[in-house]
């Protein structure tokens, strides 16, 4: 029939146009090399960098679920290139599938490259269209490759293991969890220094395992120093990122006892006085009395509670002071004091911004901590 010929022609043309030209972006899932972690290291040649992609061996995961036998579930591919993206594409020389990085969960930066300056190597991960800025950034104590090579228990995929290690940091709050987003935000801010957790490989009885320990502090994008666990928590108190954690207090003659942080809130108020910049840090803590003592502390009594609170205040204050001292010695504004001043005094800030490096070490800090004990778990008091 005449009137049906034209649409048939048109639809054939359209169909041919779309179908024959191909499905441009389509990638079947089984053609992808799924990367769970990226690592960056220095290469042997000075102008190259080395990229480690941790590729999941899906086939082995599939068999591992059915039977106990099976090979490694991940495969670390190391490749060098002149830039990160160059290296990423070079990956296809030794890996048969296209690297699919949209689901990677952790970015491991080798210590050497971190000391040389890292932003040019990480910039690609912020730019690429599928990559997410919610991944965790950690610094390896040593080579990134060594960290990624460790076989882990409970979660056989190393990259996910490290990510989960960072996620459970809140139990102690003695390590930081820095997403790539935070990392970049701190880097972009002109005065704030960025930081990331450190992952170490520890060897015990010939078995390697991973440990999250301490915080690496960057000046701009160069690694300049480390904070230990105590200082890290001081830092977290100041930037108000404490979720939980144990405060060990030691009242005189009474042995050690512990308090668990339930809730913490910090207020940082900058003040510009004639003597320079002063930061008022006010920490409000809510804790649970967790015990661990020989003679059951009687927290139902007000005097005992007050005593404990006093000592807890002291511990927290010491931690914060330690962190500030370390930061001042490294001349890195990890706390974002500069930003706080900017928010409060936008006009004065214009003069201070350029010489913040000379102002920061002389900042005066007054710390006020208030602790309250709200619960004593199962035990009330001894008769």
């Amino acid at each position: 029939m005449k009137y049906i010929r034209k649409p048939i022609k048109l639809s054939i043309i359209l169909l041919a146009l779309f179908v024959l030209a191909g499905c441009w972006n389509s990638n079947e899932m089984n053609d992808l090399a799924i990367v769970t972690a990226f690592g960056v290291d220095t290469a042997e040649k000075p102008d190259e960098i080395s990229l480690i992609g941790q590729i999941i061996n899906i086939r082995n995961i599939a068999t591992a679920e059915k039977s106990a036998a099976g090979g490694d579930v991940f495969w670390n591919v190391e490749i060098t290139g002149e830039t990160v993206f160059d290296a990423l594409r070079n990956l296809t020389f030794i890996n048969n599938r296209k690297a699919f990085g949209h689901h990677y969960q952790i970015l491991v930066v080798g210590k050497e490259i971190a000391e040389k300056g890292v932003i040019k190597d990480l910039e690609h991960f912020a730019r690429d269209h599928g990559d997410r800025r919610t991944v965790w950034v950690v610094v390896a104590d040593g080579k990134a490759k060594d960290v990624l090579d460790v076989k882990t228990e409970l979660e056989p995929i190393n990259g996910r293991y490290i990510a989960q290690l960072v996620e459970v940091r809140t139990a102690t709050s003695k390590a930081v969890g820095v997403t790539f987003q935070n990392f970049l935000q701190r880097y972009i801010s002109k005065t704030t220094s960025t930081f990331a957790s450190i992952v170490r490989v520890i060897k015990k009885n010939g078995v390697e395992s991973l440990e999250l320990n301490g915080t690496a502090v960057f000046k701009k994008d160069k690694l300049v120093g480390e904070l230990n666990g105590k200082e890290t928590r001081g830092l977290l108190f100041v930037i108000d990122d404490i979720k939980s954690g144990i405060i060990v207090v030691e009242p005189e003659n009474q042995g050690k006892t512990s308090l668990e942080i339930n809730k913490s809130g910090t207020k940082v108020t900058p003040k510009i006085t004639d003597n320079g910049v002063q930061m008022d840090i006010e920490v409000k803590l809510k804790t649970y009395y967790a015990g661990d003592t020989e003679d059951f502390f009687n927290v139902t009594k007000k005097e005992d509670r007050e005593l404990l609170q006093l000592y807890a205040n002291k511990v927290v204050k010491e931690e914060i002071e330690a962190a500030i001292k370390k930061a001042k010695s490294l001349n890195t504004d990890v706390f974002g004091f500069g930003d706080a001043v900017h928010r409060k005094y936008p006009k004065q800030w214009k003069g201070m911004e350029s010489n913040w490096d000379s102002i920061f070490p002389d900042i005066k800090v007054s710390i006020k901590v208030e602790t309250s004990i709200d619960s004593s778990f199962n035990i009330t008091e001894l008769p």
Partner: protein, 367 residues
Amino acid sequence: MDIEDQKISGVQLTQLMICFICGSNILLTVSMTVAKQDIWLAILGGVVESLVFAIIYIFITKKYPNKTLIEINDLVFGSFLGKLVSTLYIIFFFLQGSAYLRIITNFFKSQIMPETPMFVLALALLIVCAYAVNKGFEVISRLSMLFLIFLMLEVAFVFVTGYSDMKFKNFLPIFDITMTDFIKSANIIGTTHFGEFVVFLMFFALLNNTSKGKNSNIKIYIISILSGGAILIVISVITIALIGNLAPIDNYPYFQAIRIINVRDILTRFEIITSINILAMVFFKICVYFYATVSGIRKILKLSSQSFLVLPIGIIMINTSLMLFKNPFEVTQFATEIFPLYGLVFEVLFPVLILVITQMKKLFVNR
């Protein structure tokens, strides 16, 4: 009923105008690079500027309630000069439609499907636009409410899920913006988001009789500008609260902001829904410009039908959109530097001329 004679109600026109404003949301980055965390101030400034524009349009629509812009031009400037101005307007509408086609294909190409040819993306979208334009203005305006609800649900969903990640101290310090920057960014928003309302001078004649009340055009303009501005402010607040100082450096800040939302690893990665919304809103923008071009040509040439114009103009539009800019940077440059002035010619200069000449003619006749 003939497609060209379809009537719409005032409520539908308002809905369509709000969708039309939201179609420019993808360009939020342009003013965000200038205004940074004070973007909401710039939006307020833009709304005020657009209210001033709206006064001009309200007067025009009041003077000529049953005339489209083309007919008004003929009446005001005389038949030759009027035709010239009308032609300029049609070219303006056509180029705007092509530009938005380019902007949306750029977005999808850079953010979601980098390997797909731009031509294919543009073609697929334009087929639907052509279908909608062929079905008439009534269909386009009726559909707008549906997508407006989608948009609002999506924004509400993003706000709820992203609330725990939002940091409202990102807005501090307030008023940390120089006057020139403020005027510049407010003008960008005023001209791109709201100023393009000039195209609706083509459509006020389509209002049905029940909606042609005394002050209905005032209501339509005010409501659509205010609600469009409100949506815009909510979106920019979400963006700044979520990504703070990264927003000015991102190409598509709202889209980037949604990507970092993560609620327990499950309510996450739903940026594709946002991209669908962006596409739907730009669809309306292109449709309105497309329809304005087609019906403008029909009016200027006094044709009896317009459906045969849809396909050729659509094809030219695809090609224009591909040739208009060499790369995405030119789009941004155009939106930041050229459009705020170039747009003013069509958005303010000619409408003001129309008003002035109308008034003068009136005086002349009275004398």
